[in-house]
């Protein structure tokens, strides 16, 4: 599970069919002091997370395959929850 902040969005027409209908958000990993760490990555959004909201991102591929309902999906990162405080 990654502590991250939503920093943008991504749109793709050509994508793996299992990702159809899912919103893709750019997420920036945060370190223990809430500073940006590494390069932003793209995660599937299930909750309608907003810009600059802090989120938890799961990196579990097995869970992600369940969420997109496709056992052969290469999906991995998805937003698991939005952090209130």
């Amino acid at each position: 599970m990654i502590h991250a902040q939503v920093v943008g969005k991504a749109v793709a027409t050509a994508k793996h069919p299992s990702l159809n209908g899912f919103k893709m958000l750019l997420c920036q990993q945060l370190d223990a002091e809430e500073k940006a760490s590494g390069t932003p990555f793209v995660a599937i959004d299930l909750f309608g997370a907003g810009m600059h909201q802090k989120v938890f991102v799961s990196t579990d591929g097995i869970e992600a395959r369940g969420i997109v309902h496709d056992d052969h999906s290469p999906a991995r990162m998805f937003i698991q929850g939005v952090i209130d405080s």
Partner: protein, 101 residues
């Protein structure tokens, strides 16, 4: 998934049987500073190491793609296939705003 630019393709004379017919792209990960301009402009090589990515979406040179590394890259295949990175999306637009505190 991570974001990278296709900078070339790889062709192989001899390869594992399960990989026959595969397309391979040479992908350079995009840096944070390039995220907003990489779709409209050639971002240029970054210091991040380039990697070879399996592709069946039809991405071409210059395209900005999303790719996944690790065990998930083999998920689309029925048979065990030795692939470590696969393309998932060809991006039309990317919008990035620096994180706030």
């Amino acid at each position: 998934m991570r974001i990278g630019q296709v900078i070339g393709k790889v062709t192989m004379h001899t390869q594992e049987d399960s990989l026959t017919g595969a397309r391979w792209l040479l992908v350079n990960p995009v840096d944070t500073a390039q995220l907003n301009s990489c779709i409209s402009r050639q971002p240029g090589l970054t210091s991040q190491p380039s990697l070879v990515v399996y592709d069946n979406l039809g991405a071409g040179e210059g395209d900005i793609i999303g790719f996944v590394e690790g065990a998930e890259a083999t998920a689309p295949f029925e048979q065990p296939t030795p692939i470590d990175a696969i393309s998932l999306a060809i991006f039309d637009t990317l919008h990035y705003e620096a994180p706030t505190h």
